[in-house]
């Protein structure tokens, strides 16, 4: 990014700027443990553009934001790839790639950004309020849960995953759209409403509006605080992997630096710190956590490998149809 | 029998009394005028009667019922506002029809009555206009029409003709009087125009600083004001504070310094206790003095100070040994400044006031 933009705060500092587009959570942690050391080492200033996936991606699309590095969930990152918004990465420049799980290396396709963390999409429930412990996706279909659960909206990152789960419930091995929707139709009586933001899930859960629902594991700690007897399970059919990726935006004038930044994100040092701070589950295999430290984290090769990954390319191609069907068939 | 009574009313704004110990009684079907200087409380009295204002003390009886707390809209009184208060969002027709519609009068009837009253106030053809498209006098007439058309139990007029020219004012006041008498609507009328008040009223109340100084039929007030204030207010511009007052042979003899005056005492004359003589400029006689003229009885020598043309007559201010006097007299050739004159005080035109 050119450093002469008025928008950036420091006018006089001569050093280059690296513009990083990210969600904006735990900013203090990142500032201290990631940005600051990186700035120091490379004599660069990191400027953040924060916001949700869609908004940030949209700004990159319009070519306005001069972003160099962008953090996106795999679903949105795939859109960026499809629209040719990202630079190919020179994997030789990212030495830490070797240290991470294979699934995380190039989830969007060869040459595109790696996932720097993997989260698990499973089920949380309130053990006080459900008759039998929930262990499978299928359990959410139980009539006992009428009007007591929430599911992710199809437009959110995890929406397609739940749709996939529905397809699995139907017994189909391959993803079967029609059967999935048929199953979805059956679960709707149980659904109070869909949630678009995790905060909604948390609020509904803590206010007793719902007793169960699919959610990403990283948020479970919050639920547990509100409802001490809350449980998080990896459903028997398998949890889903939600991968957050880092990419270099096309037209970046700091490509080298951007790659160094990605490399730094994958470094054992950063990965370990952020895991211990319970911010992001590590993808770096060198990171070792105690059991205590691993609670609510997606940790361990075994677990990671057991997670189902969706073909985001396929999801992207289909999302318009799915959204449309979802609107028409499920919520009307 | 009196239709309504104001008893010991007191009204104040910001703790300052505007009306105090105010009493007024009006008989059914009568038209009573309130006359008084600007700010004396005329509008306040009307607003009180209309119910826009609550009195601090006192009682308002209407048809023997206590009306003090009856809400405005239950009173069925017509009010013509000093500042018109026309509804800007309604046409002239709708302004006038407003009260009728509320009374659920039929459409055809409304049409008829509104057109009729607009005719009376000389505003045929203005029905479709909005108030802001009228001249001041036209607005005022709409305000009158709006109050008349509902044929209320009591009509309250606050300077309803102030913005009309003499002719219109005269014809309007005749109309108001006619309607008022025909329908027997009791009316309280505020105007600063004395001729208007005197010609239209059954009774005139002269107000001063929130109290009524005199309440009588017009002719009595006109001829026999009872206080100096009233006299002054209705045009007795000349006053002489006498040193002594004595009754003698059906006449009253008055002395001021070296001068002696005589006043005819007639039957109706109410006030003979006062020590101040009052006379109107119109009633003073003035004529040029030739060198040899002696001082006539009830006369004074003087000198013309100021001359003003009034249309009908000329007005002079004459300087005399016991003060300045104002005289109006019709004459072909005006007297000139500095002219020596003789003033005469006709003995049946001077009155005594408190």
């Amino acid at each position: 990014a050119c450093s002469s933009k008025e928008g950036s705060k420091e006018e006089k500092e001569p050093e280059a700027e690296l513009i990083v587009s990210t969600w904006g959570f735990s900013e203090d942690f990142f500032r201290e443990n990631v940005y600051a050391p990186f700035e120091k080492e490379h004599n660069v200033k990191i400027v953040l553009d924060t916001g949700n996936n869609a908004d940030r991606l949209n700004k990159v699309r319009q070519g306005n934001s001069d972003v160099d590095v962008i953090f996106l969930s795999d679903y949105y990152a795939q859109q960026g790839v499809a629209e040719d918004l990202f630079e190919k990465i020179d994997s030789s420049k990212i030495s830490n790639l070797d240290k991470i799980y294979d699934v995380a290396k190039a989830p969007l396709g060869e040459g595109f950004g790696p996932a720097y963390t993997i989260a698990q999409f499973g089920i949380a429930y309130n053990a006080d309020e459900v008759k039998q412990p929930i262990t499978t996706w299928k359990d959410l279909w139980n009539k006992d849960l009428a009007n007591k659960i929430t599911i992710p909206s199809i437009t959110s990152t995890t929406g397609p995953m739940f749709l996939d789960a529905a397809s699995k419930i139907s017994g189909s091995k391959e993803f079967n759209e029609d059967q999935a929707f048929a199953e979805m139709k059956k679960i709707m009586p149980n659904v109070v409403k869909e949630y678009g933001q995790t905060s909604e899930f948390v609020n509904m859960f803590s206010q007793g509006e719902i007793v169960a629902g699919p959610i990403m594991g990283m948020y479970f700690a919050s639920l547990q605080e509100a409802v001490p007897n809350a449980k998080f399970v990896t459903p028997a059919e398998g949890g889903y992997a939600v991968m957050n990726t880092v990419n270099v935006v096309k037209g970046s004038d700091q490509k080298e630096l951007a790659q160094s930044f990605i490399n730094f994100m994958l470094s054992t040092e950063v990965q370990e710190k952020s895991a211990k701070a319970k911010i992001d589950s590590p993808v770096n295999t060198e990171v070792v956590l105690t059991e205590e430290e691993a609670t609510n984290m997606t940790y361990g090769e075994e677990l990671v490998n057991s997670l189902i990954t969706l073909d985001m390319k396929f999801v992207n191609e289909k999302s318009k149809t799915w959204i449309d069907r979802w609107n028409r068939e499920l919520v009307q | 029998m009196s239709l309504f009574t104001l008893e010991n009313i007191a009204v104040s704004y910001n703790k300052q009394h505007v009306l105090k110990d105010f009493n007024l009684e009006i008989e059914k079907g009568k038209l009573v005028s309130l006359l008084g200087p600007s700010g004396c409380g005329k509008t306040t009295t009307l607003r009180l009667i209309a119910g826009f204002l609550q009195s601090d003390e006192g009682k308002f009886l209407f048809q023997e019922k206590d009306y003090t707390k009856v809400p405005v809209n239950k009173r069925n009184f017509g009010f013509v506002f000093q500042n018109y208060a026309l509804f800007p969002h309604l046409t002239i027709f709708d302004n006038v029809a407003f009260g009728l519609k509320l009374r659920k009068v039929g459409k055809a009837e409304i049409e008829k009555r509104v057109m009729n009253v607009l005719d009376i106030v000389n505003l045929q053809g203005f029905e479709k206009r909005y108030p802001k498209e009228l001249s001041g006098g036209q607005k005022q007439r709409v305000a009158i029409a709006r109050a008349l058309v509902i044929e209320p139990d009591l009509l309250l007029f606050d300077e309803p003709l102030s913005n009309l020219d003499a002719n219109l004012r005269e014809s309007m006041r005749v109309e108001i009087r006619r309607i008022q008498q025909e329908l027997g609507i009791t009316t309280v009328y505020v105007s600063h125009d004395q001729e208007e008040c005197f010609s239209i009223s059954d009774q005139v109340a002269i107000m001063n600083k929130g109290v009524i100084e005199q309440l009588s039929d017009p002719a009595t007030i006109y001829k026999y004001p009872s206080t100096k204030f009233v006299a002054d207010f209705i045009g007795f511009k000349n006053f002489i504070d006498f040193d002594t007052v004595a009754e003698r042979e059906g006449q009253i003899e008055l002395k001021k310094g070296d001068y002696t005056f005589v006043i005819q005492k007639d039957g109706e004359m109410k006030n003979i206790s006062g020590k101040t003589g009052a006379i109107r400029p119109d009633n003073l006689q003035i004529r040029a003095k030739s060198a040899a003229d002696p001082l006539p009885p009830n006369g004074l020598f003087g000198q013309v100070n100021v001359t003003t043309f009034l249309g009908r007559s000329y007005q002079y201010v004459v300087e005399t040994a016991i003060g300045n006097f104002v005289v109006n007299q019709e004459m072909a050739q005006p007297l000139s400044m500095g002219q020596e004159v003789i003033l005469e005080f006709p003995k049946d035109e001077m009155v005594l006031v408190d």
Binding site: K193, E209 | P71, V72, A147
Partner: protein, 273 residues
Amino acid sequence: MSKKYIYLLLLPGVLFLTIFMLVPIFMTMGTTFFREDGFTVEGYLQFFKDPYFMGILFTTLRVSVITTIISIFLGFPVAYFVSKMGPRKKAFLLLLTIFPLLTSPVVRSFSWMIIIGKNGVLNNILTGIGLIEEPLSILYTPTAIIIGLVHLFLPLIIITLVGVMENIEPDLLTAAESLGASKLGVFAKVVVPLCVPGLVIGSILVFVGSFTAYTTPALLGGKQRVISTFLYQNAITLNDWQVASIVAVIMIVVTVLVISLMNVLAKKLNPRG
């Protein structure tokens, strides 16, 4: 006053809006009328033929109209009351009126969840005093959306109306009373018509606000879809600005129609305005 001078007053604003709003908007929307083969309204026709789309359009319309009507009915008397207060009390009440606007939609909807939710304050009270047995389910229904929207937009209408009511000459009200109008009559026949300009703009603010609202329906509504959900899905999630623009144009047309209707009604109430 010469006409030129009037236009001069309007010019800066019009220029600003033209450059920064009208031109970009027309460029965005222009694309919805043109395909490779020239002018077309095909995109629009599809929407009007689609019962699903029409369904949510009407749902949204209904919610917005109801919200507007409720806001007027709640806001008008309150504005009247407030405008009759002394200057200090009036200022204080106006201040209280704008307070709700200072809270984020998320927290606000959370507070409504606490009030009207299954285990909410309202249900607790009602079941507590034995008025009902089963908790009312208001949350996640169109009713909840309406409550939320009214809460959101009521201040706008109150503040606007107070500003208008203050300039009504008090003697007009007394005049109406003396002609026999009850308090209610004065209100309906004089205050309301004179407030029409404020009422119109207040209603427009509320209606448009409700019609395009996204957060409140998303948080308080259940599975209910409103039209802005649809717009967001296409624009933000699918990045399909073509469809988003079509939806936007339809929304604008509907709004303009509703506003024209309101103006017609307003003309009836106050032909001069």
